[in-house]
Structure formats: structure tokens, C-alpha cells
């Protein structure tokens, strides 16, 4: 009863904020939702790894960055659209993720949490600096005509291309839900995530499941890297903030709560878009996220202590 009352309260509050923004500057609502789509889509694979392999992967955003570079150079060499390279890049990234899992993560599964943390941090540095070594710190961008597609409603003009990220986020959320509840591998993964020992006892190959889930997550974030490239400039450090943002969203939602990731992204996206919409606050919009992450973490730790 309490839960439903609270969820009603939140919905009402959310609607009120949305209406307020709509009255004030409608384009902010659109841009906020578009931003939220990207954040959620990147965060969901991280939630998958955290929920099942129980590893906080601090190299998450860097995998996306590597995929974006791979897409850029293959698309340029073959003169094809990045979307055509999406599937091959994603598969190659999945394989790469598998190799990284085998060589590093797997060895540290039983190590203290601190070691895992520093390990994935090291992987993140190694990835971004390898790219830096190969392609220097220069930034690269694709110029595609369709990304500037826009639409106007009444007096307001806004870009609509970024809704592909919203679509991707929803697709990922629904797809993962179906995968985890309907397929054999997904059910096994869910069981491993809940209790690895128990899963092993009933005959699930835990190690293979971990490897599969990690590779899947890297593959998914790889596909997003290809999409990311279509809109944004890429440089070696571009993935770092997405690691942080994903972690923040996953922490905010709590382990295993993908719907929560969607709502969190929406809040973050709208907050950033509103700050960007006001000239005086624009410089401060990058601080929103960091304040939000600390607030989230503090609230979570208080909640956990109570429970």
C-alpha cells in the first residue's frame, strides 16, 4: 500500500515537473528526453554486468569509445554509413569483451572488491591511452546529413534525430527483460546473478554465464558506440564521463532495477537540459551530474543503513 502511494506521488511530481518545463520552454523537454535516451542506453549494459557478474566495470564507457573509433575508421575506409558497421563492430566488441573477461576479470572474481575496482580502472586507462597512442588526442567526427533532421511543432523547432537513442534505450530495456525471463541462457544468467553457488549446484556453468554476460554487455555498448559516433565527436577521453554517468544511474536505481535506470536517466537528462536552457546557468550544467551522483550515493547509504 505504501509503495503504491509513493509511486503515485512520484508520478504526480514527475508530471508536474514535465508540465512546468513544457510551459516554460518546450524544447527543453524534448532535448532532456533525447539526452536521457543516450544515458539510459549506455547505463543498461552496465546494470546487466553489475547485476549478474557483480563487477563494477569502470571501463564501461571506454568500451563504447573504442567501438566508436572502430566504427569511425571502418566506415571511413569502406565509405559506408556507420549504421552498416554497427552489427559487425558490435560482434567484434563482444569478442573483445570476452577476451578481456577471460584474461583479466575472471582472474579477479575472487579477489577483494578493491582489487576489482582498481583493475577495471586500469583497463579503462589502458583502453583510452591505447587509442590516444594510435590516433592521438585529436577529435574525429562524421558528417552525416540525416542527424540534423528537425521537426517543428507550432513555433518550436527541434532536432529529432536523437530519438534513436530513446528507441535504443527502450529496445534494450525490453529486450533484456525478455532475454532474462524467456530464454534458457537468460534464466541461467538471472539465477547466477541471484546466487552463483546455488546456480552451480543445479548444473549451471557459472563461469561460462559470466563470460557470456560480460561479452553481451560489451557488445551492446559497442553497438551504442557506433550510434554515438553518428552524432558526437569522439576523442580518447569521451567514454570516461559515460562510465561515471552509467554508474550513477545504476547506483540510483539499485541493482537489477532497469526501469529505475530509465527514470533516473530521465531526471538527469531533464535537469541538464534545463540548466543548458538558461544562459546564466549553462556553465554550471556539468556540475548537476556530479552533485546528483553524490546525493544519490548518500541517500542510498542512508537507506541501506536503515534496512
Amino acid at each position: 500500500m505504501l509503495v503504491t502511494r509513493r509511486s503515485i506521488l512520484w508520478t504526480v511530481l514527475g508530471l508536474a515537473v514535465a508540465i512546468a518545463i513544457l510551459m516554460w520552454k518546450p524544447t527543453i523537454l524534448v532535448y532532456g528526453i533525447e539526452r536521457a535516451g543516450l544515458y539510459a542506453a549506455v547505463a543498461i549494459p552496465m546494470a546487466l554486468v553489475l547485476g549478474i557478474v557483480h563487477i563494477v566495470n569502470l571501463s564501461h564507457g571506454e568500451f563504447m569509445m573504442v567501438a566508436a573509433y572502430a566504427t569511425y575508421f571502418s566506415a571511413r575506409a569502406l565509405k559506408i554509413d556507420p549504421y552498416l558497421a554497427l552489427l559487425p563492430v558490435s560482434l567484434v566488441m563482444a569478442l573483445f569483451g570476452y577476451v578481456v573477461y577471460r584474461l583479466t576479470i575472471r582472474q579477479a572474481l575472487k579477489a577483494p572488491e578493491l582489487n576489482q575496482l582498481i583493475l577495471t580502472f586500469g583497463i579503462a586507462i589502458a583502453l583510452s591511452q591505447t587509442v590516444n597512442l594510435l590516433f592521438t588526442g585529436q577529435s574525429w567526427k562524421m558528417s552525416l546529413s540525416y542527424v540534423s533532421a528537425s521537426m517543428s511543432i507550432g513555433a518550436y523547432d527541434f532536432g529529432v534525430y536523437d530519438f534513436v537513442f530513446v528507441a535504443a534505450a527502450i529496445l534494450l530495456a525490453v529486450g533484456l527483460r525478455l532475454f532474462l525471463t524467456r530464454t534458457k541462457m537468460g534464466k541461467a544468467a538471472l539465477a547466477v546473478g541471484q546466487n552463483a553457488k546455488g546456480a552451480a549446484i543445479v548444473g549451471i556453468d557459472v563461469d561460462r554465464t559470466y563470460a557470456f554476460v560480460f561479452a553481451l554487455a560489451v557488445g551492446l555498448v559497442g553497438a551504442l558506440g557506433a550510434m554515438f559516433l553518428t552524432k558526437q565527436a569522439i576523442f580518447p577521453g569521451v567514454g570516461g564521463p559515460y562510465t561515471m554517468k552509467s554508474f550513477c544511474l545504476v547506483a540510483m536505481a539499485g541493482v537489477g532495477n532497469i526501469t529505475g535506470v530509465l527514470w533516473g536517466s530521465l531526471a538527469l537528462g531533464l535537469a541538464e537540459a534545463s540548466m543548458n536552457g538558461v544562459r546564466e546557468l549553462r556553465d554550471w550544467s556539468s556540475i548537476v551530474f556530479f552533485v546528483l551522483i553524490i546525493a544519490t550515493i548518500l541517500v542510498r547509504s542512508v537507506k541501506e543503513k536503515k534496512a
Partner: protein, 329 residues
């Protein structure tokens, strides 16, 4: 004899290092301007590495070294420019400023553990950077601040200044190692619940460790400012000031004072040679070192050496016992 050696050896080394600039005419290859400036940058990283390890002894991984280092840089610059403080005093002020900030946020942040603590320290460093970046003319904005005169243009003086940062870090670290703080931190790291039930004031010790390490990082930041003369948000809070000390401490061996020192010397020289050959991406080596050390050598070089020494000692004792047994039998 052994005990005497264990005191004399580090002191002798320290004396040699201190006296290094005096040999500039005798041996310019190791005491000329270039080696001295290389040594200075190694000292800066070394002090940061030691301070990172001091907090790591309690089991908390800070990703925010650059944050407090940057606060030290700005603390020193602002107290010279806005308060008219003397440069020497401003270095102390930088340390105190960083310590004060650490004290205030420590009350909240130190309730967090594991990844939550680490990510929060990382986010705090970013927040400091953004605040100083957007601080308008008071903080110099994106261009940062220039102080009219650095503390000295003499290489030897700057060398000793950087070295004194290391000495502060060493002093703090050996205080941690020789007092009961060491037992408290180790107990917290090993099993917090057990430590708590044995009556250790966990929060108090964590706060002391956090404030002292931030003080050291602030001092080092002040030294950095006073020897280079400029501070900008991007250079003061450069992620390298988090990354390099962390890699140095891990490679050398964590939970000790000696480890970070060894690591800083090795990686400091390595970084310099690599930087000259590979302008972009030489940091990849640090990433790989972190990964390899965590996977294959979690105790670091010093830990490895210590383990081997212990094994050798126990083998010797075993052999002696066996010999005794044989002669008796």
C-alpha cells in the same frame, strides 16, 4: 647490527638525496638543471603516492588525489594573490585549506564504503574543478591564475622545496606506521565489523587519515604552485595526479612507506623516458601496469621482497632447528 642498518641505510640515502644539488659542478649529469627538475616532478608524485597509500591502508580507495592536490594549488595561489600572504606561508595555508575541506566533507563522505567512496571522491574532484573553473575573476576562470613571482629561481632551492614535500609525506606516513593508528587502520581494512566490536572508533580514525592525507596533498599542491607559478583548472585537477600516484603505490607495494617510494622512482623515470619518445598515449603503460600488478603481484615489489625475506628467514630457522634436533638425537 641489523637494526642499525635498517636505520642507517634510509638515512644515508636521504642524506645523499638531500646533498644532490651540491654536486652540480662535480657531476652535472646527475645534478645539473635537467636531472634536478626531473627529480622535482618525481618528488611531487612520490609524496602524492605515499599519501594515497596512507588512506588505502584503511581499505578506502581514493580516486580524488587530484582534487585535494588542485585545492592546494588554488589555496596557495589565492592566499598569495588575494590575502597577500608570503609564498612560504601560503604553502602551509594550502595544506590547511585542503585539510579543512577534507574535514568538512569527511563527516559525510567517510560514511561511504568501497565503490561508493571511490566514485564520490572522483566526483568531488570534478566538482572542485568546475567550481574553480566557473569562479569568475576571483579564481581566474578557465585561464586560471598566475602569481607574480615564484618562490625562487634557484634550481637547488626548488629541488629542496619539492623534497620537503616528500619529507612531510614520509613523516606523516611513519607516524601512521609507528602509532596505534596503524593497528586501527589495518583492523578496519581487514574486518570493519570486528574492528568496531573491539571498540575501535572507526569514524574517528578514518577522519584522521582522510584529513592528514588531504593536508599532505594540499601541501604538495602548494609546492607545485610555488615552483611553477601558474594554476589553471585543467592542469591543477589533471587526472594524471590521481592516476600516476595510484600506479606508483601499487607497483611499489601498498600498505607501506617504502613501496610508494620505490614505485615513484621506477615509474617516474619510466614516464620521463616514455614521454620523450611517445608524446601521445605513453600513459598506456600505467594502465597496463595497474592491471598486471593487480592480477599477478597484488603486494607490489616491496611486498614480494618482504615475502621472500620472510620465507628465507623461516627456512633458516627451520634448518637450525633441524640441525639442533639431529645433534641431540
Amino acid at each position: 647490527m641489523n637494526r642499525l642498518l635498517s636505520f642507517a641505510l634510509p638515512l644515508g640515502c636521504l642524506a645523499l638525496v638531500v646533498a644532490l644539488p651540491l654536486f652540480k659542478d662535480l657531476a652535472p649529469a646527475i645534478a645539473g638543471p635537467y636531472p634536478l627538475s626531473l627529480a622535482r616532478s618525481i618528488f611531487i608524485y612520490m609524496a602524492l603516492a605515499i599519501s594515497w597509500d596512507m588512506l588505502f591502508r584503511s581499505g578506502q580507495v581514493s580516486f580524488g588525489i587530484a582534487g585535494f592536490f588542485g585545492l592546494g594549488i588554488y589555496g596557495s595561489a589565492l592566499s598569495v594573490l588575494r590575502l597577500g600572504m608570503s609564498p612560504w606561508l601560503s604553502i602551509l595555508a594550502a595544506g590547511l585549506f585542503a585539510a579543512l575541506v577534507a574535514l568538512l566533507i569527511g563527516f559525510v563522505v567517510l560514511r561511504l564504503r568501497a565503490i561508493y567512496f571511490s566514485i564520490t571522491t572522483l566526483a568531488l574532484a570534478e566538482i572542485f574543478r568546475i567550481v574553480l573553473h566557473n569562479g569568475g575573476s576571483f579564481t581566474g576562470g578557465p585561464e586560471g591564475l598566475f602569481i607574480p613571482k615564484i618562490i625562487s629561481s634557484d634550481n637547488a632551492t626548488l629541488y629542496w622545496l619539492a623534497l620537503s614535500g616528500v619529507v612531510v609525506a614520509l613523516a606523516a606516513s611513519s607516524w601512521f606506521e609507528r602509532s596505534k593508528i596503524r593497528f586501527a587502520l589495518t583492523a578496519i581494512r581487514n574486518n570493519e565489523l570486528q574492528a568496531k566490536s573491539s571498540g575501535i572508533g572507526i569514524f574517528k580514525y578514518l577522519l584522521v587519515a582522510f584529513v592528514v592525507t588531504s593536508f599532505v596533498q594540499g601541501i604538495v599542491g602548494g609546492i607545485q604552485l610555488q615552483s611553477y607559478g601558474s594554476s589553471s583548472p585543467d592542469s591543477a585537477f589533471d587526472a594524471n595526479y590521481t592516476l600516476l600516484p595510484l600506479a606508483m603505490a601499487l607497483l611499489g607495494g601498498v600498505y607501506s612507506t617504502v613501496g610508494p617510494v620505490i614505485g615513484a622512482v621506477l615509474l617516474g623515470f619510466a614516464a620521463e623516458t616514455l614521454k620523450l619518445r611517445i608524446p601521445y598515449g605513453h600513459l598506456v603503460v600505467y594502465g597496463i601496469i595497474i592491471v598486471l600488478v593487480i592480477l599477478f603481484m597484488p603486494d607490489g615489489l616491496y611486498g614480494l621482497w618482504r615475502k621472500r625475506a620472510r620465507a628465507r628467514r623461516s627456512a633458516r630457522i627451520d634448518a637450525r632447528m633441524a640441525a639442533k634436533g639431529a645433534s641431540r638425537g
